[in-house]
Every structure is written in structure tokens, then in C-alpha cells.
């Protein structure tokens, strides 16, 4: 049987409309053989987690450039836990100040990719860290 493709949800929480990065990453992951679902803009934590559950994803990539990460990411992590989705690999990218990173890692964001990251680095990271499922 063919190996299940890695399923990734690229999600845009926050009010900003900067989707260049999210879309470039979505396309690069798709070109790397993953199944990618993109939420579209301005999704609430509830909407993101509901989509992740429904689409049965292995990875969630959060893209945010508005500065609201400290308010929105904890809520997303909390909801994932509530739904028993602790095994989903959650990564993030965007404009996120260095000083916020320790807090975000503590709540369970596995990695934060900052400006200048290549799409290959993200692909490699996902392949290495995703929890393999049957």
C-alpha cells in the first residue's frame, strides 16, 4: 500500500491579509509531495482547529504577521489539546519578535520559522518531525 501523504493545514489566524508567505509555503509543500489545505484569511482559533480535525492533518503551519500571536496561538494549542490532537505537529512563521519565541515554544509550538527561511528548511523539518501514521 502506498504510504499516506503528509497532510498539512496552512492557517492564517489574525487580521492581517499578508498571504504571500503562506501561499508560497503551501505551494512548496505541495510540490514536495504533501497534501496541503489552506484555510484562507482571518480564521479564528476555533475555525482553524475545526478544519484541522475535519481534514485529519498531521501538521499545522500557522502564518501570522499582525502581532497577535501571543493572544491567538495559546488558544489554538488549548483547543487542540481539548480535541485530543496533541500529536499534531504545530509550526509557525511570520513576523514574531525573538522575545516571544520562548513563550510560544513553551505552549507547544514546535518551531518558529522567521524571515529568510527557505522552503526547503521547512520541508526538511516537517519530514523529520512529523508523527508517522498508518
Amino acid at each position: 500500500m502506498a504510504e499516506r501523504k503528509i497532510r498539512v493545514l496552512i492557517a492564517k489566524p489574525g487580521l492581517d491579509g499578508h498571504d504571500r508567505g503562506a501561499k508560497v509555503v503551501a505551494r512548496a509543500l505541495r510540490d514536495a509531495g504533501m497534501e496541503v489545505i489552506y484555510t484562507g484569511l482571518r480564521r479564528t482559533p476555533e475555525e482553524i482547529v475545526a478544519t484541522a480535525l475535519q481534514e485529519d492533518v498531521d501538521v499545522i503551519g500557522l502564518s501570522i504577521l499582525s502581532g497577535a500571536h501571543n493572544a491567538l496561538f495559546p488558544r489554538i494549542m488549548e483547543l487542540l489539546k481539548e480535541k485530543g490532537m496533541d500529536d499534531v505537529l504545530v509550526i509557525a512563521g511570520g513576523i514574531i519578535p525573538q522575545k516571544d519565541i520562548p513563550f510560544l515554544k513553551k505552549i507547544g509550538i514546535a518551531e518558529i520559522f522567521l524571515p529568510g527561511t527557505s522552503t526547503q528548511e521547512i520541508i526538511d523539518y516537517i519530514k523529520k518531525n512529523v508523527k508517522k501514521r498508518a
Binding site: 487580521l15 496541503v36 497577535a68 529568510g116
Partner: protein, 559 residues
């Protein structure tokens, strides 16, 4: 510009040079790259000569500054009489915080204001809305009602300063607030001057801070044209923007073409409303990006002026020469700034700003070195402003008009870019216009493809970015950044609560219901919005009322 005889002589000599001097040299010293391309992927030749300008007609294609087709500049004297306006886009935290920054910038020699609103304001939601959580004062200044706007411009004489406001979907509301503040200062709407961005089409293409579907959005925009022409005659009621289109990944040609085509769309809709083109066209303004590729950007600005003049004169039969002017603001490219070795950004900004000046911009924002991290600190924004002042007063570039005019390379590039932009415009015309093209997802797809191509080019090192994919630092230096803490949100929410308590509730209710009725009856909404803001109806309340009539736009998801 050269006689046939002269060209023939040059052609022969060039062939000789190519086969002799040049080829000989190539054998010993091959070129560094197989292909030389701009940041937009345009191939650049090794040498430009009069042969590239065989079909250039000086009087027809270039002419003189202040005269049709304005390729060399819209004003007869350009910077010899008046420098460009130095206008730093600025806003953060509460209205008090930003008001202090404005006063500081003005004291440092800045000559105009430019307001950055926080995201909830851009999206037409109040600070107490659930979607505003975590966003208050982060990306700009928080404005919920007239009360915030009064503080924002406190002590700033609106009859003397011109103000640009980056606001789109809810532009009419923020403009109404500005008019109301001016009136409270005793300044008539007839004399205030400035710009609202008010360019909704590029929101669907690029920046994505849309609220309503395209049709009612266009209606609101045309309302402001109509109202402005009568009541606020010195106001630029739109800034047709390529900036965000470029930032989203477009090439220089796509930026130019989509922006100009957006401009055509607004003019068509306004004429359809029954407006006379010369009544509103002189108040249309533009906003472009100054990206890294120096010559390509200069050529883009020159081509833009020429194209718009032609469109207004020939396509729309405008008679007033002011209707032919493409007046534009420029901002240096945000996406070109790098988080790595951030001090290098000062150099990038300088080169981009120079391109804008050599391209004949009317006003300029120079980005600050720290803007990949956050809104700029006071130190960083001061360097950005000083960059403009050094270019203006020390470099000598403002001494003559269109200094690069006549360069074989620049003129050739200007012609090439113009031609490619016309091709796009034709394509969109054939699709039935920009609203139709947006609905079909055409420009969005073009932009996405360019963004992806560029990312791949960087990853393959076909494009070198200093400090990122080459010349990296062992250890990155940390720079001080502006950090907006949660006390801003607390203050803002308190003020909003206070405003809601103090105002005449019955009056607010009446204003909002009148507004809804006017929207249903397809009246010009400006007078109703003005009345509502004066009664301290909040931005969110006004926008929610309109959402009831117009609905909300849902973007088709593509990637």
C-alpha cells in the same frame, strides 16, 4: 533621435565591436552569468546604444517636463522649485502615542503626515470586537471613533499640514472623521488637503483588507469622488496603489499594469455614475513601490506617467491637463528588507529612494531598518528620514529634471515596460475590466506565480540576497525594537467604553438607521457617514450597518 545615416554608421561599428573588441575580451574574461536579469526576471542586455532607440520620437515619447506626455515629469520645474514631500507612514499604540510621534517627526523636518491604522480599524471592527483580540495598536494606531481621531490630530493644524491616510474598505468613515476634526479646529473642508488610499481593487488583488464585495465597494469609492469634487476639493480621494501588488510578489510590469488598469476601472465607474471626468480626475493620485532593481524602477515610474497621460487624454477625452497628470507617492519596498544584518537595510532603502527620486515621485516614504521585526523605533525612523534629507540636500540628484532621461538604457527599458504593461491592460480589457478579471482570479494568479518564481530563484541562488543566501554573519546582532504591550489595549477599551457611555444614544441609532436607508436607496453615503461620526457612532457600528445591506466578501481560495 538619430538620422538613418548616423544609425547605419553606429550599426556597422557596433557589429565590429561585438565581433572584435568584445569577443576577444570574452575569451579571456567570460561574463559572470549566463543571463543577467532584474529582480522581476527581465533580461538585461550588455550594452545599450542609439540603435535601441531607433523608433523613439523625442517630442512624442518624452517631450518636456510639465507637458504631455509628461514622461520627464509632471511639473515644469520639478525639484528645482519644490522637493518631494517627505512623508513617513506612521502609527502605533493609542492615539496619544501616535500624536507624540507625529509631533516629533514634524519637529525633525518631515513635511507631511501619513497615518497607519491598526488592523481592526482597517477591517472596520471596533477594539472590543472578538477579532480585535491581540491586535490593538499593534500594526498601527487604534481608531474606533471620532474621539480617537480628535486626540490623534490634537495640536496639529489641519489647514497647514497635509495628511495621507492608509485606509481602504472603510475609507469613507475615516475621511469623515478627519473632516469632522478639521471642522472642530475651525478649518473648512474646502481648504484641507491630503489623501485617502481608498483603493479597494488592489485589496482583492493583494493587500486583502476587504470587507464588502466589489460592487458596493466601488459604489462607496465613487461616492467619495463625487462628494470630494464638491465639498473637499483639495483632497485626493484615492491613491491607486501598486505598492501592495508588488509586495505580494508582482513583477515591476505587473505592478504597473494592474495599477493603471485599476485606475481605468475607477474612471469608468465614475463616468458611469454621471461624473464629468475633469471634475474628479485631477484628484486621482497613485502610489508605487520602489524595489531593488534601480533602473527598472526608474523606467517603471517614467512609463507610468506616460501611459496615464495617454489614457486620460485619448481613452477618456479629459480636457484639463491636470487630469492627465499621474501624481504619485512612493514607498521603498518592505519585502526587500531583511531581518538578517538589519543595518544593511539602510543601504537598500537609500538605493530604492534614489530610484523614486530619479523617477520623479511627488512624495516619499523611506522604510526603517527595523521594519522586518516591528513598527519602527524613533531612532530607526529618524535615520530613514535623514536618508531622504541627504538625498535631497547633499547628493545633487535634485538639481536637474529627469537626470537619466536620454540614457539609452533607461529609455529602452521605459519603452519595453510600457509595451508589456499595455499588453496586460489589453488582456484585462478583453476580460471585461478589472472587477471581472478579479472575479476570474486572473491578476491574483499572476501575482502568486511571480512570488513563487522569486522564492525559488532565491533558493537556487540565482538571486543573491546579502546576508541571507550569501555573505551570512556568524552571529546575528540583535537590534532594539518597538514593542507594543497589552496596556495599549486596556487604555483603548476604556476609551471606547467611555465614548459609548457619553454619547447621545438615540441620535446614534437614528444616524445608523438613516445610513442604512440611504444605502438601500443607493444615495451618496458621505453626508450620512459624516453625520454618524459626528454623533460618535463607532467605526464598527457604521460598517456593521453597511454589512447588513451589502454583505461581506468571501475570497476564492487559490494557491
Amino acid at each position: 533621435m538619430f538620422s538613418e545615416k548616423e544609425l547605419e554608421k553606429i550599426r556597422k561599428r557596433k557589429e565590429k565591436w561585438e565581433n572584435g573588441t568584445y569577443s576577444e575580451s570574452l575569451k579571456k574574461l567570460p561574463e559572470r552569468m549566463e543571463k543577467f536579469t532584474t529582480v522581476s526576471g527581465r533580461e538585461i542586455g550588455k550594452l545599450y546604444t542609439p540603435l535601441d532607440l531607433e523608433n523613439l520620437d523625442y517630442l512624442k515619447d518624452l517631450g518636456f517636463p510639465g507637458e504631455y506626455p509628461f514622461t520627464r515629469g509632471i511639473h515644469p520645474t520639478m525639484y528645482r522649485s519644490r522637493l518631494w514631500t517627505m512623508r513617513q507612514f506612521s502609527g502605533f499604540g493609542t492615539a496619544e502615542d501616535t500624536n507624540r510621534r507625529y509631533k516629533y517627526l514634524l519637529s525633525q523636518g518631515q513635511t507631511g503626515l501619513s497615518v497607519a491604522f491598526h488592523l481592526p480599524t482597517l477591517m472596520g471592527v471596533d477594539s472590543d470586537h472578538p477579532l480585535a483580540q491581540g491586535e490593538i495598536g499593534k500594526c498601527g494606531v487604534a481608531v474606533d471613533s471620532l474621539a480617537d481621531m480628535e486626540i490623534l490630530f490634537d495640536g496639529i493644524p489641519l489647514d497647514k499640514i497635509t495628511t495621507s491616510m492608509t485606509i481602504n474598505a472603510p475609507a469613507a468613515v475615516l475621511w469623515a472623521m478627519y473632516i469632522a476634526v478639521a471642522e472642530k479646529q475651525g478649518v473648512s473642508p474646502k481648504v484641507i488637503s491630503g489623501t485617502i488610499q481608498n483603493d479597494i481593487l488592489k485589496e482583492y488583488l493583494a493587500q486583502k483588507t476587504f470587507i464588502f464585495p466589489p460592487e458596493p465597494s466601488m459604489k462607496l469609492t465613487i461616492d467619495t469622488f463625487e462628494y470630494g469634487a464638491k465639498e473637499v476639493p483639495r483632497w485626493n480621494t484615492i491613491s491607486i496603489s501598486g505598492y501592495h501588488i508588488r509586495e505580494a510578489g508582482a513583477t515591476a510590469v505587473q505592478e504597473l499594469a494592474f495599477t493603471i488598469r485599476d485606475g481605468i476601472e475607477y474612471v469608468e465607474w465614475a463616468i458611469k455614475r454621471g461624473l464629468n471626468v475633469d471634475d474628479f480626475a485631477p484628484r486621482l493620485s497613485f502610489f508605487f513601490n520602489a524595489h531593488n532593481d534601480f533602473f527598472e524602477e526608474i523606467a517603471k515610474f517614467r512609463a507610468a506617467r506616460k501611459m496615464w497621460a495617454k489614457i486620460m487624454k485619448e481613452r477618456f477625452n479629459a480636457k484639463n491637463p491636470r487630469s492627465w497628470w499621474l501624481r504619485f507617492h512612493t514607498q521603498t519596498s518592505g519585502v526587500s528588507l531583511m531581518a538578517q544584518q538589519p543595518y544593511n537595510n539602510i543601504i537598500r532603502v537609500t538605493i530604492q529612494a534614489l530610484a523614486a527620486i530619479l523617477g520623479g515621485t511627488q512624495s516619499l516614504h523611506t522604510n526603517s531598518l527595523d521594519e522586518t521585526y516591528a513598527l519602527p523605533s524613533e531612532e530607526a525612523v529618524t535615520i530613514a528620514l535623514r536618508t531622504q534629507q541627504i538625498l535631497a540636500h547633499e547628493s545633487g540628484v535634485a538639481n536637474t529634471i529627469d537626470p537619466l532621461g536620454g540614457s539609452y538604457f533607461i529609455e529602452k527599458l521605459t519603452l519595453e515596460i510600457e509595451k508589456e504593461a499595455w499588453d496586460y491592460i489589453k488582456k484585462i480589457d478583453d476580460m471585461g475590466g478589472m472587477v471581472k478579471a478579479i472575479e476570474a482570479g486572473f491578476p491574483q494568479k499572476e501575482i502568486q506565480d511571480s512570488a513563487y518564481w522569486y522564492q525559488k530563484a532565491v533558493e537556487r541562488k540565482e538571486k543573491i540576497i546579502v546576508g541571507v543566501n550569501e555573505f551570512r554573519a556568524e552571529k546575528e546582532e540583535e537590534i532594539p525594537i518597538l514593542y507594543i504591550d497589552e496596556s495599549v489595549a486596556k487604555k483603548q477599551l476604556e476609551r471606547l467604553k467611555e465614548v459609548k457611555k457619553m454619547r447621545n444614544k438615540a441620535l446614534v441609532k437614528q444616524c445608523l438607521s438613516d445610513l442604512k436607508k440611504a444605502a438601500q436607496d443607493e444615495e451618496n453615503l458621505m453626508p450620512y457617514i459624516l453625520k454618524a461620526v459626528k454623533a460618535y457612532a463607532t467605526l464598527g457600528e457604521i460598517i456593521d450597518s453597511l454589512k447588513e445591506i451589502y454583505g461581506e466578501y468571501q475570497e476564492p481560495i487559490t494557491y
